[in-house]
């Protein structure tokens, strides 16, 4: 334990790899880089090799993004996405975790799953199964889905309204807390061989949830897993998302165009946490960050130029679901003239209306314009990360992959040793620690002040006499 305590006053970096079970996740065009393994995502060996690599380098977790639809807004079709492998094909992230768990002992797994389209009972069970199998190394990135095509894959005519999605998510979480925290007591499993009693029915209860969106009887089918509730991630900064994070989230995955924006987001969500009866420090902030490192500045520069050269702006436009096509106009056309004064904004790429189409497109091939980007020698990169930690106020990063596995390998070989010297990164894993304990250092379970804790022991659930006979 002592050697993993951060040096006095120094914040230790939470280090995750940002991944997705697809070819082109967020660095569009780069799947074509020589030696890139992205096309192997269908192979389970891609994931087991990656997991071993990350664990060898002391990563805290692999964070798996996901979508359940296709990007088909840009140019009114999915053509760009399909041509570029832009998150299609994409595979279920949860399904590759057990194989990664089988070849590691410490690596955590952040799995994205949407609360909008699937019944909560089966997902609660799948996560508990994963938490059992990994011995408490699972986190869930709660998303509400934003793709219109995703909605149409699940029988709806279009997207559910943003705030309503959060309302659904809030009730969804409520169902899951009841199943995870309330349905089984810690000592329900007796496994008394002599008396032929495996579990004590008095310590297991249905949840009888009846709400606006869900009706779930229970009991939860798996027994309590190590963390019970997996580590809860979420990623939004909208007002509804901020309230949601304040109440539920333990690790906020956030981003923004500037350090100032990030600082505001962090302050806003910490405030929401306090308003929800939690402590400001109950939430950690992890941002997407990008690192290109070389042994020398020249090496780093050459690598960066290689990556920038293969970058395909159209992938970013499609990914952003841009409702207009800047490449269809002469490069000197200003964006405001393309979309009009009240034109749409892309989902993630807020843009300056005074920019020309040409500047806008060129920007995608210029990595330095991205927030939380560091390129250079190991010590230069480490300097930047220390600024992010201390000045911007983040707690960790989801490392953008330009190249699989070079990005992770470079970080492990070049950056991690410098961060360790500076007391910014763990020097070893603590044996047998859960993901939550690793991040917060306060045990395997959610703190008592978290909303979910209210259901422990069956409190806030229907009375035991009703629970005794489900069908009475």
């Amino acid at each position: 334990m002592p050697e993993n305590q951060p040096a006095a006053g120094k914040k230790r970096l939470i280090l995750n790899l940002f991944e997705m079970n697809c070819v082109s996740h967020i660095t569009h065009g780069l799947w074509r880089l020589p030696g890139n393994n992205r096309e192997r995502h269908n192979d389970i060996e891609y994931w087991t090799e990656l997991a071993r690599l990350l664990e060898s380098g002391g990563f805290d977790a692999v964070f798996l993004a996901d979508v359940i639809g296709t990007y088909d807004v840009f140019r009114g079709s999915a053509e760009t996405s399909i041509r570029q492998g832009l998150q299609i094909p994409n595979n279920d992230p949860a399904m590759v975790v057990p194989a990664m768990a089988a070849v590691t002992r410490h690596l955590g797994f952040g799995i994205t799953f949407s609360t909008t389209y699937e019944p909560p009972f089966a997902w609660a069970r799948r996560l508990s199964t994963l938490d059992h199998l990994t011995k408490g190394r699972v986190g869930w990135n709660i998303v509400t889905s934003y793709l219109p095509n995703a909605a149409r894959n699940f029988g709806l005519d279009g997207e559910v309204d943003h705030d309503k999605r959060y309302e659904i998510a809030d009730e969804y979480l409520d169902v899951l807390y009841k199943l995870w925290e309330g349905s089984w007591d810690d000592d329900a499993i007796i496994a008394d061989r002599d008396n032929n009693v495996f579990a004590d029915p008095a310590k297991i209860r249905p949840i009888f949830h009846e709400g606006t969106y869900f009706k779930v009887e229970g009991p939860h089918l798996p027994s309590p897993s190590r963390q019970r509730t997996p580590v809860l991630f979420s990623a939004t900064a909208s007002p509804a998302g901020t309230r949601f994070a304040g109440k539920h989230t333990e690790v906020v995955f956030t981003g923004g165009a500037s350090a100032d924006f990030l600082r505001q987001t962090i302050a806003g969500i910490r405030k929401a946490a306090v308003e929800a009866g939690r402590r400001a420090e109950d939430i950690k902030f992890v941002t997407q960050a990008s690192v290109i490192v070389g042994r020398t500045a020249a090496q780093a520069r050459a690598k960066r130029e290689r990556y920038e050269r293969l970058t395909d702006p159209e992938g970013y436009l499609a990914h952003a679901s841009l409702p207009f096509d800047p490449s269809a106009f002469p490069p000197e056309t200003k964006l405001k003239d393309i979309v009009g004064a009240n034109g749409g904004t892309g989902r993630w790429h807020a843009f300056n209306p005074e920019q020309t189409a040409g500047e806008f497109l060129a920007g995608f091939g210029n990595f330095s314009r991205r927030p939380l980007f560091a390129s250079g020698t190991p010590s230069e990169v480490a300097d930047a990360i220390e600024v992010w930690l201390d000045d911007v106020g983040i707690d960790g990063i989801n490392l953008t992959q330009y190249h699989s596995y070079d990005t992770a390998r470079d970080f492990i070989e070049l950056v991690a040793p410098v961060l360790r010297e500076r007391g910014r990164l763990r020097t070893s894993y603590d044996p047998d620690e859960s993901l939550r304990d690793r991040i917060f250092g306060a045990g395997d379970r959610l703190p008592d002040r978290h909303y979910a804790a209210r259901y422990r022991g069956g409190a806030f659930l229907p009375a035991p006499e009703r629970a005794g006979a489900l069908t009475a």
Binding site: I44, R126, P201, E217, A469
Partner: protein, 540 residues
């Protein structure tokens, strides 16, 4: 009547004190392992101390099964039977009480290593597949509530079996991985994607056991008020598989994935199609998110032998899991379903039948019988009845063991009712028959040679494979792999080496994909005239 259970009947039983402290039980009938102490209260008795049955010598014994007449084994050259290990991600699957045996590890089901080592054992033994059963709710009340299931660990707690698949695929090379998933539990779009992900991860070794749901609690876990009517459940399943077929077979053309780095083309846009499914229950646009996996459609398993279930199997299934009580029933059922398949444009041999069997092997017959009797000492017969009771949705918990079942009409497992009646064609079936059916009727006790003889007879009755039930993990499978498999292999009744390719190819030897006459095949190329671009909603 064996002492200890059934001795007290009706609803006026004494309270049992062998439950957890502080719990007031209102059991009408004490559990099997209880006897009344001097104060008249019931206390648990360790198995070894229980009074023994006067005739068979073990405490909970049932009267022996009448010897089933066996048809003659044909003289056709032997072909290998297929073998699957019938397991569940839980403590008490089919044979209750045996989790307590000293070497039994099934209570470790939360642990990944437990399953990894089983998968390796099965692959060493040249098993075709591991087959995971599943339910997504509690069985219907027994003696008025669900207490028994928790106490027995009877399929609760239980974990999602699909989640094990990628790890098992990683540690094996050939073993098929079959898991059960109900149409109730997940939207077909997401389910199709999970299956395709796993079929990629396993390089084509995934099978899906398609089930509806017969447990009211499971329905209520998914927002319904109760069980969907039997035939309606199969209509639901029909549409569910239809959606998945469209996604698996029709959405991506074979050569859609180009992965051309130089040209910067990952997939060919013109060869990826939306499915635009609209049916009574589902509306699914597509395209499928996963590129074609080795099998595309996983190997399709099905169980359930009601009228609607047989029709569904005849149309869709490539492997049918049966639990025929005897050879005659196996012959009748396999013949019937094959004939139905032909009426649906398929061939009789398009379906493989897996019979659920449990074997107790030993070097000598006497030793095998001793092992079987010793095993019976551990079986929780009350648990066996509760399982059947809860499946049927009829609470047998208050009834005498010799009560005839009468004409049962239930929304539960219709097929089981017929099978129970088959057990004793000459007289009305009783609860005693139910217990025997669930634990010991399809049990083969003997030397490896005797077991091989019997398996050959099952094969002659139309069965293509065995879904091997366990009393303990890994012991039941170790016994089989180390003692029975060599004899079967010597006779050509079990494969010595795996065939190449996907699970489908290993079983049928006709390639990785469904044959063209399967209903899923109609969607191949069916969506090509509607490229994705033509129908995209612009309303973002």
């Amino acid at each position: 009547m064996p002492p200890g259970w059934g001795a007290v009947k009706g609803k006026g039983g004494r309270p049992c004190t062998c439950q957890s402290p502080g719990v007031t039980s209102t059991f009408a009938v004490p559990p099997a392992a209880c006897v009344a102490d001097q104060s008249g209260r019931y206390r648990p008795v360790p198995p070894k101390l229980r009074p023994r049955h006067p005739r068979t010598g073990h405490p909970n014994a049932l009267s022996p099964s009448p010897e089933t007449p066996l048809s003659d084994v044909t003289s056709a050259p032997p072909r290998p039977l297929h073998f699957a290990a019938f397991v569940m991600n839980t403590t008490g699957h089919i044979i209750q009480g045996t989790w307590r045996r000293p070497a039994a590890h099934q209570a470790n089901f939360n642990d990944l290593d437990h399953w990894v080592s089983l998968a390796r054992l099965l692959e060493r033994g040249k098993f075709d597949a591991v087959f995971f059963a599943d339910v997504v709710g509690l069985y219907a009340p027994y003696r008025g509530d669900e207490r028994k299931y928790f106490e027995a660990g009877l399929q609760v707690p239980s974990n999602d079996p699909s989640v094990l698949a990628s790890a098992l695929a990683y540690v094996t090379e050939h073993l098929g991985i079959a898991f059960t998933a109900s149409v109730l539990q997940e939207h077909p779009f997401n389910f199709a994607r999970r299956i395709s992900t796993l079929d990629h991860a396993s390089k084509g070794r995934i099978a899906w056991n398609i089930v509806t749901n017969y447990l009211p609690n499971a329905s209520r876990n998914f927002g319904l008020d109760g069980l969907t009517k039997h035939d309606e459940r199969y209509a639901w399943a029909d549409e569910y598989v239809d959606v998945t077929y469209k996604l698996w077979e029709g959405s991506w053309e074979e050569d859609a994935l180009r992965q051309d780095r130089a040209a910067g083309i990952h997939a060919d846009y013109g060869k990826v199609h939306r499915i635009f499914h609209e049916g009574p229950r589902y509306k699914v646009e597509g395209p499928h998110l996963v590129s074609p996996s080795p099998q595309r459609t996983p190997l399709l398993f099905q169980a359930g032998a009601s009228e609607a279930g047989r029709t569904f199997a005849a149309k869709n299934a490539e492997a049918v899991f049966i639990t025929a009580p005897n050879l005659a029933a196996a012959s009748r059922d396999t013949t019937d379903i094959r004939a139905r398949a032909v009426r649906h444009g398929r061939r009789p041999d398009d379906i493989k039948f897996f019979q659920g069997l449990f074997v107790v092997p030993a070097a000598t017959e006497a030793e095998a019988k001793r092992k079987a009797a010793e095993l019976d000492d551990w079986i929780d017969w009350d648990g066996q009845i509760s399982h059947m009771s809860g499946s049927l949705g009829i609470d047998f918990g208050f009834d005498d063991l010799d009560t005839p079942l009468g004409e049962l009409k239930t929304e539960g497992v219709q097929s089981a009712v017929g099978w129970i009646k088959d057990l004793v064609p000459d007289r009305p079936a009783t609860l005693r028959d139910v217990a025997r059916f669930t634990a010991s009727n399809t049990r083969i006790v003997g030397t490896p040679e005797q077991i091989a003889d019997k398996l050959a007879r099952w094969q002659a009755a139309g069965v293509d494979g065995v879904n091997l039930i366990n009393a303990e993990i890994p012991g039941s499978y170790e016994d089989f792999v180390d003692h029975v498999a060599p004899e079967l292999q010597r006779r050509g009744l079990m494969q010595r080496e795996y065939a190449a390719g996907t699970l489908r190819n290993k079983l049928f030897g006709r390639g990785d994909r469904l044959p063209g006459r399967h209903p899923a095949a109609r969607y191949r190329g069916a969506f090509a005239p509607q490229p994705v671009s033509q129908s995209v909603s612009q309303s973002a």
